[in-house]
């Protein structure tokens, strides 16, 4: 079995190895696709260990939530005027992570980018679980989580409707639409694969479950014709949705007059950052999967190379966003803005700002090297660095602005409490618990789509396909 589709032999070609029309040459038959991808569903000791760790981390968060509900929101580390802290930082962080999945499945589908085929399923699942994680934080933050449904506009005994001019309500609509559409996208893509699993399964209970999940899918020409059209429309809808969701999240900040927030660059800068962190998380989950389940000939070095180019591009994009913020603060001549940005980089919060600049602007420049773009170990390390950097990006946006507003007598400090940190740990546990459960029940690579790029058997073999 080949470990890579197109190994780099000898000197690396310059300027580049084409990665747009990526195929999987080591995968030759439909039966191989079925057998190898379905083999990933067998649990292994590493999987059980990972799941155990994730559940333990999730329980840390759950315990903190129980404690907070009992003792009240005052246990979070908020000190006026810093009334947004780890909860909102982590909310924005996870919404950002959730961007790569739909970008890969929708935007790259419309652009016919070949490298999406073998990575989109894992990314879509990542999106759904990341948005599920993000959605918890506003609910945690309201203190009385059982009242969260008051945000939904419905006829009620209070005779009240929510305020549609509030960015927080826009968030409710944007995130719930995104979660609904991402989940729909994930499930619909799984239907043909559920049919494969239904027909391969020997356990009668699991067979029945897969039969229900596959909705009686039979691979008929009629099904494929309507499915293909639906998929294209869903991709077309999801493309502006991906761009809108983080733009709406950025409005939570940009609509306020707070120094460092009130800027028109936030929507593109947030979207770029979201794609950047989302792709980094795709590496964090896919690189171990491809290694541990021997899927190197599906998620090839060419695929990783192509994703690295997206990461490099979005790193430069967010880098331009950071520099533009400094330029605009200087150029505006507004004293509180200038004071705030100076304080961010050389004052009270210098350490967090430099973590962000190093992790998001400096380390990703290594991806100009083709050798590093094709080095999975480096990409995995870089993905962790980027995720740390992107969490700090949100920290730098939220905390320094609130702690250093217009009135000098209000300037203060912020230190997360142990409750805040437990929620952060718990969010990772919650996310990875769902993801690990997913990869053992459902194929992590789309079986039907991979078959599309595998040359079919021909009676009269003309030596080509399509």
């Amino acid at each position: 079995m080949a470990t890579t589709a197109k190994p780099v032999v000898g000197k690396i070609k310059r300027p580049n190895i084409p990665s747009a029309g990526i195929q999987v040459p080591a995968v030759t038959t439909f039966e191989q696709v079925d057998n190898e991808i379905l083999a990933t569903l067998k649990p292994s000791p590493k999987w059980f260990m990972g799941l155990g760790l994730a559940i333990a981390a999730m329980l840390v968060g759950a315990s903190a939530w129980t404690y907070q509900i009992y003792w009240g929101l005052g246990n979070a580390g908020y000190v006026p005027p810093v009334m947004w802290g780890v909860y909102i930082i982590t909310f924005v962080f996870w919404v950002g992570i959730g961007h790569a999945g739909t970008l890969i499945s929708a935007i790259l589908y419309l652009f016919r980018a070949g490298f999406r085929t073998t990575i989109y399923r894992a990314s879509e699942a990542m999106t759904v679980f990341a948005v599920m994680t993000a959605g918890l934080f506003p609910i945690i933050h309201i203190g009385r989580p059982w009242k969260f449904f008051w945000l939904i506009p419905y006829p009620n005994w209070r005779l009240l409707f929510p305020q549609f001019k509030s960015p927080l309500l826009w968030d409710v609509f944007a995130i719930s639409t995104y979660l609904t559409i991402s989940t729909t996208f994930l499930y619909l893509g799984l239907i043909p694969d559920f049919a494969v699993m239904r027909d391969k399964e020997t356990n009668p209970i699991r067979k029945r479950i897969f039969a229900m999940l596959s909705l009686g899918w039979k691979n008929t020409d009629r099904e494929w014709r309507h499915f293909a059209k639906m998929y294209m429309f869903l991709a077309a809808f999801s493309t502006p949705l991906v761009l809108s969701v983080h733009s709406v999240v950025s409005f939570d900040f940009a609509m306020a007059l707070t120094p460092g927030w009130h800027t028109t660059i936030f929507p593109p800068y947030f979207v770029g950052g979201a794609i950047f962190s989302g792709f980094a998380m795709v590496w964090t989950i896919l690189i171990p999967i491809r290694k541990w389940w021997h899927l190197e000939h599906y998620v090839t070095l060419n695929h990783l190379d192509a994703t690295a180019k997206v990461v490099l591009f979005t790193s430069i994009m967010v880098g331009c966003g950071y520099l533009s913020e400094f330029f605009i603060a200087w150029f505006s001549g507004v004293a509180p803005e200038q004071e705030y940005f100076w304080n961010r980089v050389f004052g009270q919060w210098w350490w967090s700002a430099w973590i962000l600049l190093l992790c998001n602007m400096v380390f990703p420049l290594s991806l100009f090297s083709q050798k590093l773009r094709r080095n999975p170990t480096w990409l995995f390390i870089l993905s962790i660095i980027i995720n740390i950097g992107m969490w700090y990006e949100r920290f730098v946006i939220v905390v320094p602005s609130l702690s250093h507003e217009f009135e000098p007598w209000q300037w203060t400090h912020y230190t997360p409490s142990w409750i805040d940190m437990c929620f952060l740990v718990g969010s990772f546990g919650w996310f990875f618990m769902w993801f690990l459960l997913f990869i053992k029940q459902m194929p992590v690579i789309a079986i039907a789509e991979v078959k599309e790029i595998v040359p079919p058997k021909m009676k009269n073999d003309h030596g080509g396909h399509h």
């Binding site: 038959t29 439909f30 039966e31 079925d34 506009p153 009240l160 409707f161 929510p162 305020q163 549609f164 001019k165 826009w170 609509f173 944007a174 639409t177 609904t180 559409i181 729909t184 619909l188 043909p192 049919a195 494969v196 239904r198 027909d199 391969k200 039969a211 909705l215 009686g216 899918w217 039979k218 691979n219 008929t220 020409d221 009629r222 099904e223 494929w224 014709r225 309507h226 499915f227 293909a228 059209k229 639906m230 429309f233 869903l234 809808f237 999801s238 502006p240 949705l241 809108s244 709406v248 039907a448 789509e449 078959k451 599309e452 079919p456 058997k457 021909m458 009676k459 009269n460 399509h466």
Partner: protein
């Protein structure tokens, strides 16, 4: 329901069989394929999917609802703020857009379900498990008196198995 089911291991064989059946004007032909194959689409030459109609209707209803619910609630519970518009269309575009996407997508999915005729309760008739793995198939809904002729045609194009089901 009764008919003939044929199994083909090769893509070009099933395409040839489809073209031949079309030339002979055989009605009620269903083709199975483990994945989308453009060669089969070309051979069938089916009309464009009507899923797009569901998309258009759903998206139009969604955008209308998004704007309507925001404007209606602002008018019903007006908040007077310094002469600013009570119903402001700029922020309500976010509601309009999100509902446009949400209802548009869900109605597209409903359109696919209706037109593809899923969910389906029974899959064991006129079907073979090999069609989800690697083989192609043709199912022709017909009467038993035509089974022999169809079997001959399908085998001539490379079907490895042809069976009548009733």
């Amino acid at each position: 329901m009764q008919g003939v089911l044929a199994v083909f291991p090769q893509l070009d064989a099933v395409c040839d069989a489809i073209r031949d059946l079309k030339a002979k004007k055989v009605p009620k032909v269903t083709v199975y394929s483990p994945t989308i194959q453009h060669e089969i689409d070309d051979a069938i030459d089916a009309p464009t999917s009507v899923v797009r109609v569901f998309t258009l209707i759903g998206a139009s209803l969604g955008v209308t609802f998004g704007y309507w619910v925001s404007i209606w609630s602002s008018q019903y519970w007006p908040l007077q703020v310094g002469g600013k518009a009570i119903a402001s269309w700029i922020p309500y575009t976010i509601m309009g857009f999100e509902m446009f996407v949400m209802v548009g997508c869900l109605s597209t999915v409903a359109g696919m379900f209706i037109n593809a005729q899923i969910p389906r309760l029974v899959t064991n008739f006129g079907y073979d498990k090999r069609f989800t793995h690697g083989d192609y198939g043709i199912w022709i809904e017909t009467t038993p008196d035509k089974f022999a002729d169809l079997e001959k045609t399908l085998k001539a194009h490379g079907a490895v198995e042809v069976r009548g089901e009733r």
